[in-house]
Amino acid sequence: MPDEIYFLCLLHNIGATSSDKSLSLDEITQWTVMEPQRVRENLEKLINTEYIQKTFKEGSEKYHVTVNGIRKVLSMYS
């Protein structure tokens, strides 16, 4: 499984599946126990494929899995 898809699955399982459950870079780094640089690279790839959406909340960037991203994750698990 490509690294960014594995990372997408982690974000899905953590529960970042809507804008009200979106997480900051720091929170994602802590949850996934990944290096910040690796997190940033994966986020960038997933934003380009529209599996992750970036929003600005309370002055900081937050990230959550889109509906297409959820479908992608579910196709991995079935």
Binding site: M1, P2, I5, C9, L10, N13, I14, G15, A16, T17, S18, W31, T32, V67, N68, I70, R71, K72, L74, S75, M76, Y77, S78
Partner: protein, 395 residues
């Protein structure tokens, strides 16, 4: 109402229900629950939340309760245990308003909540096995696979009745889990055939996918995982194009093998004829099936193969591997063609025949449509499931 009467109160637990569609379970539960309601049962579905879907909705009489998953965890198995807890809570809350007669769960994913509900409600549990871990991965290797295999055994052990979708699955499960055959009922999947009775502008659909009027269209629809055998279709493509130069191939669906399969497709030298569509909507699925010249189902493992029924209803000639449930649905040379499993030459031979011989293809289509209407309707399946419920409710 109590068991023994025709009308039952059913609590169905499933991790997927439309619009949350993972594989075949969502469509199965959707069709079955609507048909059960038509037979007079009261059906409550407890499932997981999905963006944009309401927490509660009435879908043609089916009461759908979507559970919010309030906690998460990166590990998939841990996550499933968490969502089962929230499903359990929902069943407990519902049980104050509804006196359920039977609990019906689908696959291992809802094992925990199903067994908990069975015990705190003191009602029988029925499970439907759509596939098994040993079948999906072929060999148990990881701790997670062993755990899932154990959960499957536990689910069937706790269930009063076990529903299998094919004789192939029944044999697999009885052999692997040493399940008493008396607990098992074989009830096939079904589809809503009326979805395929609509008029579709085939030319417009084909134009949308850049298929010229003089070109043939061969499609695959399914998850892009090794068990679906898409690599054998890709390897068959040069052998098909050799006979039918103007043929294009659309591969619809997603999965963790996608990038590997895309590379493979490019390496055939016919990458310009092969297009990967990713996830497609249900309406696109119907339109594509109704507009194609052949549907290939090259699975190497297939407990049932509902896409074969969809193809039969849509009127597209089917070329399927002679494995699992597919070999029970498709009658070779009568309702479709069965190719040797993992054999590109055999797949190509069948596709070439379907594309060359229109009279033969039309004959297959007519036979297939009749069979799907006669045997694989949700009404027929719901009646059989009702019998299983009634038997499970006997003390």
């Amino acid at each position: 109402m109590n068991c023994g009467h025709i009308e039952l109160k059913v609590c169905m637990l499933t991790w997927e229900f439309p619009p949350r569609i993972v594989g075949g379970i969502a469509r199965h539960c959707y069709g079955l629950t609507k048909a059960l309601v038509k037979l007079g049962h009261e059906v409550h579905v407890v499932t997981l939340e999905f963006p944009g879907a309401p927490e509660f909705e009435d879908v043609e009489g089916v009461k759908v309760h979507r559970v919010k998953i309030e906690l998460g965890h990166p590990n998939f198995l841990t996550w499933t245990f968490i969502f089962n807890h929230f499903m359990e809570k929902m069943v407990a809350a519902l049980s104050h308003q509804v006196e359920f007669d039977v609990i019906h769960i689908h696959d291992w994913l809802t094992t925990h909540s199903g067994i908990a509900a069975k015990n705190f409600l003191n009602k029988p549990m029925v499970c439907t096995v759509h596939s098994t871990e040993i079948g999906r991965v072929q060999q148990l290797r990881s701790p997670d696979s062993y755990m899932i295999d154990g959960l499957e055994w536990w689910m069937m052990y706790e269930a009063k009745s076990v529903i299998m979708c094919s004789n192939f699955m029944t044999k697999e499960v009885i052999d692997h889990f040493h399940l008493p055959s008396e607990k098992v009922s074989v009830i096939p999947n079904a589809i809503d055939t009326f979805e395929y009775n609509k008029n579709v502008n085939k030319e417009a659909v084909r134009r949308r996918y850049n298929i010229e009027p003089n070109e043939k269209l061969v499609i695959f629809i399914g998850r892009l995982v090794p068990q679906k055998g898409v690599e054998y279709l890709i390897r068959a493509i040069p052998l098909i194009v050799r006979n039918h130069r103007g043929t294009k191939f659309l591969i619809a669906g997603d999965g963790w093998s996608r990038s590997h399969l895309e590379s493979m497709a490019a390496a055939t030298g016919y990458g310009n004829k092969i297009r990967f569509l990713g996830f497609i909507t249900d309406s696109e699925r119907v339109e594509l099936l109704m507009s194609a010249d052949a549907l290939v189902i090259p699975s190497i493992y297939e407990p049932f193969g509902i896409v074969a029924l969809e193809g039969m209803a849509a009127g597209v000639p089917i070329v399927a591997s002679n494995v699992g449930g597919l070999s029970e649905i498709v009658e070779h040379d009568r309702t479709g063609m069965l190719a040797y499993s993992e054999n590109p030459e055999s797949i190509a031979w069948c596709v070439n025949k379907a594309l060359s011989d229109h009279g033969y293809s039309n004959w297959l289509i007519e036979n297939a449509k009749k069979k799907v209407n006669d045997v694989y309707s949700w009404e027929s399946v719901a009646k059989k499931v009702t019998k299983v419920y009634e038997k499970a409710c006997e003390r």
